[in-house]
């Protein structure tokens, strides 16, 4: 397992795999297999994959500890950047296909509709994370500050979930949102639990 994770081909392989959803959507557009409303299918598909990559990114640390595979950490940055990439494509497809790239209309739409504002905010919060994702930025910021900044990802995933929930709320359709909410609750809950028991442990250590 460890050898596989450290294999020089592992990263390029993941890079290619993560492009498959985009490739399948592009294929769908070109060969008209996205159903009766391809624009909607494309916009929603890109949104779905943004949320999925956010969940995958957040799953790296719990999995790393649970499976005792520290090498998994190598893939976290790429997954996070893919979440940002799919988010950008999601925004672009909305701006283009739904709004016809009318920037005045887009700005008004974002300001007027909470569910779009929330999604847009989530993507804007990902921007500083993407911009400080390279090694020199970590060094420049210092690991502590960098880590603090990148805790923004928790806000991002919660806003993304709210965006999805609100989008579906109009049609009372929460089944799929529920699945993502459960996954996010698990991933964030694990961290809360960890932080809480960590604090208790350090207190015990201080007393001891």
């Amino acid at each position: 397992m460890k050898n596989l994770l450290l294999h020089p081909a592992a990263k390029p392989l993941l890079f290619a795999l993560a492009l498959l959803p985009l490739a399948s959507l592009v294929y769908g557009v070109v060969f008209d297999t996205l159903g009766a409303n391809p624009a909607e299918a494309l916009i929603r598909g890109l949104g779905d994959w943004t949320l999925r990559f956010l969940c995958l990114t957040l799953a790296v640390t719990p999995l790393r500890q649970w499976l005792k595979q520290p090498a998994l950490a190598r893939f976290r940055r790429m997954l996070g950047l893919y979440a940002f990439f799919y988010g950008c494509m999601h925004l672009l497809s909305y701006a283009w296909l739904d709004m016809g790239l009318e920037f005045g209309d887009i700005a008004r739409d974002i300001a007027k509709r909470p569910f779009i504002l929330v999604g847009f905010t989530a993507l804007m919060l990902m921007l500083p994370l993407a911009l400080t994702s390279f090694n020199r930025a970590i060094k420049a910021l210092g690991a502590k500050r960098w880590q603090l900044l990148h805790r923004l990802v928790y806000a991002v995933v919660l806003l993304g979930l709210l965006h999805f929930f609100w989008m579906r709320a109009g049609k009372n359709n929460f089944a799929e949102v529920g699945i993502y909410a459960a996954i996010v609750a698990l991933l964030l809950g694990w961290r809360l639990l960890k932080a809480w028991s960590g604090r208790r442990m350090s207190r015990v250590a201080a007393i001891g």
């Binding site: 557009v29 008209d32 996205l34 159903g35 009766a36 409303n37 391809p38 624009a39 909607e40 494309l42 283009w96 296909l97 739904d98 016809g100 739409d109 007027k112 509709r113 569910f115 609100w166 989008m167 709320a169 109009g170 049609k171 009372n172 359709n173 089944a175």
Partner: protein, 331 residues
Amino acid sequence: MHLIKDHGFTHPHSSEITPREQFEQRRELLRHLATGVAGIGLASWAARDALAQTTAGPGKLAKLPGVKSAVAGGMVMDKPTPYQDVTSYNNFYEFGTDKADPARTAGSLKPRPWTVSVEGEVGKPGTFDLDMLLKLAPIEERIYRLRCVEGWSMVVPWMGYSLSELIKKVEPTSKAKFVEFITLADKTQMPGLRSGVLDWPYTEGLRIDEAMNPLTLLTLGLYGEVLPNQNGAPVRLIVPWKYGFKSAKSIVKIRFVEKQPVSSWTRAAEQEYGFYSNVNPSVDHPRWSQASERRIGEGGVFAKKRPTLMFNGYEAQVGSLYAGMDLKKFY
């Protein structure tokens, strides 16, 4: 002077008349071309030819022929949405919430035998079975725009007749101010009922003058055939100037009442779905603008949206129903 000899009406030699079989083969060839067997340029030329002839379905369901409607606004000139799209992109929550679900799961619906009971404030209540409904008035083809509240639209050749034909037969009393439509809710036929998305059965309502408007269609088919299950078989309503959800599917009961009924979507989210729900580009849905719409089947993913028309383009026929009403308040 040399005169052209008068032969009367000149008939072609019988040898020059195209045999029926050959003529039909030609149509078949055109259809093949239109479905993309040949090159793209040729296909679009052939599709235009095929369109000019008929709005016929693929022939999998029973035929339901009708005469072209003479009702004002009954035959829009917009290009009909392909049958495939009309029957595979449906909001019919009784069969699942995804728009691809009904086409997959509605096979379990049994459209025959079927009855519609008419009750409430009428002189002649009664139960109509499907054959009675099919014979109650001449079936017409009506090509209507259909605008969904979600921001997409289609153009559908429906088969049916004005609901007013049925209403006149049952003689509403003076207390009949509204009409309520109650649709089928049968767990054995409708897998979507297990979800609590809406209160079942799905109900809708119209004011009596809306129900009597000749455009309000009691619909039994589309594209010259009976309704596919996923489109609300065997009998549904079509109210073309209102958002699609007002047009209840698979109706089992029509009730004439004095008080304004509460529709299913109004009960679920009153701020978003009002009783009237007339198509109105200037009244936004809380989550999106209603100013424009995406026409299904038109030009693929990069097609520009088109502006939404007041009352979905039927203002001339129905605008007077709402004279003096604040349509922002009565959304």
